[in-house]
């Protein structure tokens, strides 16, 4: 029997080495294909994630819940202090709420007077966070909503307050959100009140730096950073965070979203910004078809404005 085996080994040794070589070649081939035709392999990745992660959710959920419970329990120790703080904050918030309501009414009146046409309201799909990226080098989360719920690549994702990231990779039941802190994340932003545009560029730190800023002197720590909607990728005006300067003097964004606990995320349905394809009747040679009909259109705009504000 021993003799048989050694013969078998002689026969199997080179064969095994060959098989290992084939395996390595297949894996490197997959990597090269990914480098050449990334979208196809990324779709494959999304499909794999879609099959695997929801299946183990039952196992991960209790562990997550337990750890969070322990953390909550630790916070009981300072519950009295916390309660007091919250009450104080609530008082302040009430004052702010009153001010906000008055401003909102005033704003609505002014918009109405000026006949401003507002953007249609953004609607959203809310998803639960299933898993995080699992790697210290990437910052992303998996949501339990996917193509089945109409999620499309590139849509913005928020928690209750601020922008969290954008969808990148959609499976049938899951989708991946690349967080603003990921090294691959670049979000066009406007800094208020100066109105400067910049790019919020993730770099694997908690506060992503602001780059491509035209005039840094106009920007102060504490300014609000909102998405600018440039490039038509994101809706404009979503709160990203506040400007802060790091010890090196570089401007960074302190994110408004609570990255310590991402549990429910809103995916904003973005119908896409409309592109103007008309060459412009005044510049192009006039033809009968493109002649504008000013009067009825005017009436349309008027009535729609009233609808929008009402």
């Amino acid at each position: 029997m021993a003799k048989d085996r050694s013969q078998a080994d002689d026969f199997l040794g080179p064969l095994k080495r060959l098989l290992v070589g084939v395996l390595v070649l297949c894996l490197i081939g997959l990597f090269l294909v990914w480098r050449i035709d990334s979208p196809r392999v990324e779709r494959f990745r999304a499909a794999v994630v879609d099959r695997v992660v929801p299946n183990v959710d039952w196992a991960m959920a209790p562990v997550t819940a337990t750890v969070n419970l322990v953390r909550d329990f630790q916070s009981y120790q300072r519950i009295v202090q916390q309660n007091q703080d919250l009450r104080n904050e609530l008082q302040k918030m009430k004052a702010w709420k009153e001010a906000a309501l008055q401003l909102e009414q005033e704003n609505a009146r002014l918009l109405d007077l000026n006949k401003v046409r507002l953007d249609p309201r953004l609607t959203f799909v809310t998803g639960v966070v299933l898993a995080d990226s699992g790697s210290p080098f990437r910052q992303s989360v998996l949501l339990n909503v996917g193509a089945r719920d109409g999620i499309v690549d590139g849509w913005a994702t928020m928690d209750g307050i601020g922008l969290v990231g954008r969808i990148s990779g959609v499976g049938r039941d899951t989708s991946r959100v690349i967080l603003l802190t990921d090294p691959a994340s670049r979000i066009p932003a406007t800094i208020q009140p100066s109105g400067q545009t910049a790019i919020v560029q993730g770099d694997n730190t908690a506060a992503p730096p602001i780059s491509f800023l035209e005039d840094p002197d106009l920007v102060r720590p504490g300014d609000r950073v909102v998405s600018s909607g440039d490039g038509g990728v994101f809706p404009a005006g979503l709160l990203i965070g506040q400007v802060a300067a790091d010890p090196g003097g570089r401007l960074r964004v302190v994110l408004a979203a609570d990255y310590e606990r991402l549990e429910f995320l809103r995916v904003l349905r973005n119908p896409g910004t409309e592109v103007i394809r008309d060459p412009g009747a005044l510049v192009a040679p006039a033809s009968e078809r493109s002649a504008p009909a000013p009067l009825p259109e005017d009436g349309d705009i008027l009535s729609e404005t009233e609808d929008g504000n009402g």
Partner: protein, 179 residues
């Protein structure tokens, strides 16, 4: 597969796959979404190397390749590259397993460190050549160092909990053949 015929070997192969899956999903648990300043150890690498040096037959190349490929896909890494490097590294360690068997643990640790450094460098080099954006170098260094620090612990747990010991010289397998 001549040496794979015993049920224990198949059981341990299965155990390796199960442990690897547990490690992968342990990392996926959504607890903290802030970027970390330091990278934790890659226990999957430590486990694979420790087992490959002790009982090469428990970690066949195919299961290493598929497990690490799954990790590549789930962890948003470039798919295939790290898996291929891990298979190569594991095979290199398996080839040395027989020589390292009667050496002190320090030598084994050094061998593992060498292989892990080599494949980490290879990974960064290939990514740099193909101009794939990659993590900062400091984070990779911390990652490698943390993994190497955790390696003895993984070895101890493998030995005492799962019974993956080095075959002593002169040990016989089920078929009466010297391992």
């Amino acid at each position: 597969m001549a040496e794979g015929s015993t049920p224990r070997v198949w059981g341990m192969r299965l155990l390796y796959v199960v442990l690897a899956l547990i490690l992968i999903f342990g990392k996926l648990i959504p607890l903290d979404f802030r970027p970390q300043v330091w990278a934790g150890p890659d226990l999957l690498v430590a486990l694979t190397f420790a087992w490959a040096l002790r009982r090469p037959e428990f970690v066949p190349a195919l299961s290493v390749g598929l497990i690490v490929l799954l990790a590549d896909l789930l962890f948003l890494r470039p798919p295939g590259l790290w898996a291929a490097l891990m298979v190569i590294g594991t095979q290199a360690l398996k080839n040395r397993a027989r020589n390292l068997r009667d050496q002190p643990f320090m030598m084994e640790w050094l061998a593992v460190a060498g292989i892990f450094l080599a494949i980490s460098l290879g990974n960064r080099l290939v990514l740099a050549v193909l101009m794939v954006p990659q993590a900062p170098l400091g984070l990779t260094v911390i990652h490698v160092v943390m993994t190497l620090i955790c390696y003895p612990v993984v070895v101890m747990i493998s030995q005492w909990v799962f019974g993956v010991r080095k075959a002593a010289p002169g040990d016989l397998d089920r078929l009466g053949q010297r391992i």
